[in-house]
C-alpha cells in the first residue's frame, strides 16, 4: 500500500493503482467472521453499559418526503430525552434530517446534541456537482454541524474513481467546520471488495466518518459490510495515525443487533472507537428497542410498547 503525501496532488491514475492494490476480501470468510462475532454473549453489567453506549451513538433519523417541522421537532425532543420516565437515560448523539428542516431541529436541541443533515442530492446522488455543493452549503448555513453526503455510485461502478474522489474533496471544503460523513451505499456496491475500495477512497479524500447506507436501499447496514469498513479504518489508522469514524445506518432494529455491532467495533478496531465521536448508528426504531431493553435490565421485568414514546 502506497502512502500519499498530499490529497490534492493525487493523480487519478495513482488512485486507480492504489485501489487495485488493496487486499481482496473473501466474502464467505468475512461473513463467517462477522457471524462468529455475533455469537458473543453480552449479559448483565456489560449489557447495560452496551445499551447505554448504543443509545449515545444513535443518530435519530427521519428522512421522509412527508417530514414536517412538527415531526422533526417531536423527534428532536425525544433525541434529548429518550425516556421521559428515566432521566438517567443518555441523549442520543445527533438528529439526522433533510437540510431544509435543520432549522426545526436546531430550535429544539440548541447546542446540546449534533444536527446532521443529509446532502448532495440524497439519496440517489444523481445531480450536478453545483447542486450538491449548494445543498451542502445551505444545510451548514442552516445550522447543521454534520453533513452526511452520498458518493456517486454510478461513477464508482463505472470505474470513474477520480470523479468520486474529487467530489468528496469538494463537499468537504463546502462543509466548512461541519464534519463530513461519506455514505458509500454498500447495498449498491454489492461486493465487499468494492466496500473496501470505497472506504479507502473516502478516507483519502477527507471523510471524517464513513457510513454504510442511505437507508433507502436494501440491504442497508450489515455486519460483514461494517466489518470490512472497520478493517479499512483500522488499516488507515496504522498508516496515518488518524482515526476515522464509522456509521452503520439502516436495517438495525434491535438491541441485540446493536450490541453485535459494538462487539464488532471492539474486536476489530478496539475500544478507542466505542464513543459517539467514532461510531454511530443511523436508526429510527432501534432507539425504542434500546429503551425497552434498558428498562428490562433496570427493573428486571420485560417492558412493553406503551412504556416508550413514539416520538
Amino acid at each position: 500500500m502506497s502512502s500519499l503525501e498530499n490529497q490534492s496532488a493525487v493523480s487519478h491514475k495513482g488512485l486507480l493503482a492504489f485501489l487495485a492494490g488493496l487486499p481482496g476480501v473473501d466474502q464467505v470468510g468475512a461473513e463467517a467472521r462477522a457471524a462468529a462475532l455475533g455469537t458473543r454473549s453480552i449479559k448483565k453489567e456489560s449489557k447495560i453499559r452496551a445499551i447505554d453506549t448504543a443509545i449515545s451513538m444513535v443518530d435519530l433519523t427521519t428522512l421522509e418526503g412527508a417530514d414536517t417541522p412538527g415531526k422533526v421537532k417531536a423527534m428532536s425532543s425525544k433525541a434529548l430525552h429518550p425516556d421521559p420516565t428515566d432521566p438517567s437515560t443518555p441523549s442520543v448523539a445527533a438528529v439526522c434530517v433533510y437540510g431544509d428542516l435543520v432549522y426545526a431541529a436546531r430550535e429544539v436541541v440548541g447546542d446540546r446534541i449534533h444536527v446532521a443533515a443529509v446532502a448532495t442530492a440524497f439519496p440517489s446522488g444523481r445531480a450536478s456537482l453545483g447542486v450538491k455543493l449548494a445543498d451542502t452549503k445551505e444545510a451548514v448555513a442552516a445550522g447543521a454541524d454534520e453533513i452526511d453526503m452520498v458518493i456517486d455510485r454510478g461513477a464508482f461502478l463505472s470505474g470513474n474513481y477520480g470523479k468520486v474522489f474529487d467530489e468528496i474533496i469538494a463537499v468537504k471544503e463546502a462543509c466548512g467546520p461541519a464534519h463530513l460523513k461519506v455514505i458509500l451505499e454498500t447495498g449498491e456496491l454489492k461486493t465487499l471488495d468494492n466496500v473496501r475500495k470505497a472506504s479507502w477512497l473516502a478516507m483519502k479524500a477527507g471523510a471524517d466518518f464513513i457510513k454504510t447506507s442511505t437507508g433507502k436501499v436494501t440491504p442497508a447496514a450489515t455486519l460483514p459490510v461494517t466489518l470490512v469498513m472497520l478493517e479499512a479504518v483500522r488499516d488507515y489508522y496504522q498508516e496515518t495515525n488518524i482515526r476515522i469514524g464509522v456509521k452503520a445506518a439502516g436495517g438495525i432494529k434491535t438491541s441485540k443487533d446493536a450490541i453485535k455491532y459494538l462487539v464488532l467495533v471492539n474486536e476489530t478496531v478496539g475500544d478507542e472507537w466505542l464513543t459517539p465521536d467514532l461510531f454511530r448508528f443511523g436508526a429510527s426504531t432501534l432507539l425504542n428497542d434500546l429503551l425497552l431493553q434498558r428498562q428490562k435490565m433496570i427493573t428486571g421485568h420485560y417492558s412493553g410498547p406503551d412504556y416508550v414514546t413514539i416520538d
Binding site: 473473501d26 466474502q27 464467505v28 470468510g29 461473513e31 454489492k190 465487499l192 471488495d193
Partner: protein, 290 residues
C-alpha cells in the same frame, strides 16, 4: 524348430531397471526350468541393492509419469498393447515353456493379457470420474475429491499366471500415475522379461516400470521397509509368514498394503478396487463468493 541345424543365439535374461537391462549387481543368477524339469535359462537374481536402485528409478519415473495427462497415460498403455501384439508368438512360447500349458491355452492367455492392457488403457482418462466427485457440503463451498497416485508401489506378481496375472497386477497400478517395481513369478519369470522388452520399446518413461527377478523373500523386506516406497501389493506372496512380516515392516512408514487374494480369477473382468487401492483421495474446499 525350423532349420534345426542352426545354432540359436540364446538370450541372457536381465533385470529391467530405469529403462535399461542391467544384470544383478550381485552377479547372481538362478536356474529356471520348464514343467518337464528341462533347463530354460539362468535368470538374474536381484539383490537388495538392485531393489534400492529400482526405487530410485521408480521415484524419478513417478515424478514425470504422475504429471502426464490422463490422455497421455492412456496412449502409453495402449502402445504397450500394440508392441505386445507384435510379440504374441514370443509370449505364447514363453508361457508354454513356463507353465506347461497347451499352445491353445497359452494363446488365450496372451490374447487376454493384451486385451487387459487395452482395457486399462481405456480407464486412464475415466477412473477419476468414477472414483472422484464433487461433494455436496452444507455451506457456500465448492468441494471436490480427486484420486491421486500414491507414488512408488512395490508389487509381487502372481506365481501362477505368468503373463495375465502379471498384467492384472501392474496395469491398474500404472494407470493412475504410480510407478511400480514388480518382482516376477519366481518359477515362471520369462514372460515378464519379454514384457520388459516390450516396455523398453513403448513410450514408457524410464523408471516407471521396473521388473526384478529373484526371490521375493529376499527382496521384498527391504522394499517393505524402504521409506521411499509408498505401497505394497502382495498378490504373489504365497507364504503367510512372509506376508505377515512384510506387513509389519510396512507399518514403519504407514505404507498402504494390498494383501494376497485367496482365489484370484484372472480371467474375470476386474473391478476398480485395484486402481482404487493405489490412489489417495484428495479433497479440496473453496468458498464460493463474489
Amino acid at each position: 524348430m525350423i532349420g534345426s541345424d542352426r545354432v540359436e543365439v540364446r538370450k541372457t535374461h536381465k533385470l529391467f531397471i530405469g529403462g535399461a537391462f542391467p544384470r544383478s549387481e550381485s552377479g547372481r543368477t538362478y536356474e529356471v526350468v520348464n514343467t518337464r524339469g528341462e533347463f530354460l535359462a539362468n535368470i538374474a537374481k536381484a539383490s537388495k541393492k538392485d531393489a534400492r536402485d529400482a526405487v530410485i528409478s521408480a521415484r524419478t519415473g513417478f515424478n514425470s509419469w504422475s504429471k502426464a495427462t490422463a490422455y497421455n497415460r492412456g496412449q502409453v498403455l495402449y502402445r504397450i498393447a500394440e508392441v505386445m501384439e507384435g510379440r504374441k508368438d514370443q509370449f505364447i512360447n514363453d508361457i508354454q515353456d513356463a507353465e506347461g500349458t497347451s499352445n491353445k491355452k497359452a494363446a488365450a492367455q496372451t490374447d487376454q493379457a493384451i486385451d487387459r492392457v487395452v482395457w486399462y488403457a481405456g480407464w486412464a482418462d475415466k477412473y477419476s470420474q468414477v472414483l472422484g466427485n464433487t461433494n455436496p457440503v452444507s455451506g457456500p463451498f465448492f468441494n471436490f475429491s480427486i484420486p491421486e497416485p500414491t507414488g512408488v508401489v512395490a508389487a509381487v506378481a502372481p506365481q501362477d499366471s505368468s503373463l495375465l496375472g502379471l498384467i492384472s497386477v501392474i496395469a491398474p497400478i500404472l494407470v493412475s500415475g504410480n510407478s511400480v517395481i514388480v518382482i516376477a513369478s519366481t518359477n515362471s519369470p520369462i514372460p515378464a522379461i519379454t514384457l520388459s522388452e516390450c516396455l523398453a520399446t513403448s513410450d514408457v518413461v524410464a523408471g516407471n516400470i521396473n521388473i526384478l527377478t529373484g526371490d521375493p523373500a529376499e527382496i521384498m523386506p527391504s522394499l517393505a521397509s524402504h521409506l521411499d516406497v509408498n505401497a505394497l501389493d502382495l498378490t504373489g506372496v504365497t507364504d503367510p509368514e512372509l506376508q505377515a512380516s512384510l506387513e509389519v515392516e510396512a507399518a514403519g512408514s504407514v505404507k498402504r498394503v494390498r494383501k494376497a487374494p485367496s482365489k484370484p480369477d484372472w480371467q474375470a473382468t476386474p473391478s476398480l478396487s485395484r486402481i482404487r487401492a493405489f490412489t489417495e483421495i484428495k479433497t479440496v474446499w473453496h468458498p464460493m463468493g463474489v
